[in-house]
Subunit: 206 residues, 4 copies
């Protein structure tokens, strides 16, 4: 079952990107990793930037998007906390993979711009929402059902959930730590619990 050349290039590029970094992910290096000639890349992608954008749009994001889009089916079911835990778990795994690569894009503003534009047009085509707004919408729905505190700010809560996971994953990558399922799982559980609970001391209820 021979993979298509285009797919081999995408896979090779992601591998190089992950292991050697964006700066070392030259078209030649990628071609070598994919086992094809230098020029072949240009039969499948407009240029180097196009290839990297495709990695995100075709390899990294789809799975993540799919999970996120199912959130709306859960409204009113199970417990909010359980849903957040599951979601945070998935988000963390995604960020471990994707965050360092996305961060690297900041090294090449032109690439970043191309990625931004690609995301924007994808959003239009597939009516794709970014993760935080999707989660915020879910939380608002639960809020209407009385399963989330009325004084809570769903937008910020969603931002905090994803933001904390993303930063945590990026820092772990920076420190060279690989994901350790147990510690990471604990982190996620504690994070969700904290978001549910808050810091303010409760007045004793009589």
């Amino acid at each position: 079952m021979m993979a298509t050349t285009r797919q081999r290039l995408l896979d090779a590029a992601e591998r190089v990107l992950r292991t050697k970094g964006l700066a070392a992910a030259s078209t030649r290096e990628i071609a070598r990793e994919a086992g094809c000639a230098d020029g072949t890349l240009y039969n499948h992608f407009r240029d180097r930037a196009d290839l990297f954008v495709a990695i995100f749009l075709e390899k990294l994001l789809p799975d993540y998007w799919e999970v996120l889009s199912k959130l709306s089916y859960r409204i009113g079911e199970g417990t909010v906390q359980a849903h957040l835990e599951e979601l945070a778990q998935i988000a963390l795994a995604f960020y471990y993979k994707a965050a360092p690569m996305r961060a690297a894009l900041f090294a090449e503003p032109e690439l970043l711009q191309r990625y931004r534009e690609a995301l924007k047009s994808q959003a239009q085509i597939r009516q794709q929402e970014r993760p935080a707004p999707l989660l915020a919408a879910y939380l608002r729905a639960e809020q209407r059902l009385g399963r989330v505190a009325v004084q809570a700010n769903p937008t910020i809560a969603a931002e905090a959930l994803f933001g904390t996971c993303a930063s945590y994953a990026l820092r772990q990558c920076f420190l060279g730590e690989s994901p350790t399922s147990e510690a990471d799982r604990q982190f996620v559980l504690e994070l969700v619990r904290s978001l549910m609970e808050g810091l303010s001391p409760r007045e004793p209820s009589i």
Copy 2:
């Protein structure tokens, strides 16, 4: 008042890094921006990586560190919420400046490694703590004073505060948005409020 050549190089490098990105921050470009010859850079820095590490260690982090280190003097004073708001404000401003540059380091693993090592040795020399542990320590102290809920998790709360700010700033930069004091200020206030409050609905206290 002529700045020292070394300082001119540091300033120029930061400017190039911020405006054109790491990949375009070549030694030549930096030298040109600093108004000195190509080779001069190497009279003041061991190599390109050394220069970038110096930008973080000498230009970006010191101010931030100083603010953070003063946290311990605030224990028991004012309100916890007010301190968190002030801190988040400062952190956000810092991340707007520093996060895109730090993110870009992921494009060059060797550079990232050098930065990691430099941070580590600085930590030993100056007994520098990373931001989150510092904040967590403060929260634990307040917890002991009963000004933070006993069931709260200071470590996670600190992680969430900084993580959310960092991710928010990085996304704003990604979207090409420049810091808008009012919207950002609102974000920070809401974030702190959310962290204080939590999502769980409160039982009516009769």
Copy 3:
């Protein structure tokens, strides 16, 4: 009849090497001399060292090796002296061309190492012998036929023949003298005669 790019590079490199010296034989200079772009060199050679090694292995040594390898066919034919004269002549011509280039390699130990290794692997592949051992083997064969004195040391004689020619050529190059066929021819004849005769005074045979 267009020469291949690789060959043009080899020729150009040898020309530059001979006329301007190893230190001035930069990749750029060679590319310019070959009439191709800077980068083209790297489509045909792994690096600069690889190119120089190729000059010796593909341009300079093969002809010389071929002559040397035919020595064994001469055993017992003609006179030993005539064979040595012919060989010394050829060796001298070779050294005029190759000795200054080989000497220059001592300026760059890494290059020297690469050349040494290349020679070694060639020796295995082509069962190539170095000149002196080849000549020594021939002399030993002639010795067995009684055409070389039994008390002679073929190894040393071979060493002396080539060594003297090599040193002579190198000194001539050092002095800026170009090969002058007549003087050099005389030198070779006298050298061979001397090696045949020896310095010790002969007892009068009566």
Copy 4:
């Protein structure tokens, strides 16, 4: 007993030259090895070439010259063979040290030229003879005393003695072999014996 700065530079330069090669013997590297500032070199030598020429003229050659100049005192004393053996021994030791450095000069024609000119003017100033002519003169004197065969060619014999030693030493250096006193001593003895004896079979003296 502090060495003069000039001497420290000479020593450092020779060390660098021997261990890292001419190409790596930059003025900066030498200054670092000598433990002085970059610019100091230019207080003692006109330029880089001047320093290298001085190494030969002041450090390497004087001892060797002194030995050679004493040859004339030996005329008629001891045996010719013993004198040649001693001389070859000394020459070989000298070439082990000096030959790779001299060879390297061929990499930089300008340097070679400067060395050539320096040698020439030294020859005038100190009436210095090159080794081979000195030895040839000695041999001619012995020839007149009947201690060297009349049909011998002193010029060529001298050339062969030094040339063979020089080539042998250079090849050993090329192969990365360090001087092994015993093998080298054997080589020298055999070389002298061979030069005395010759290759031609002797007619049985009845």
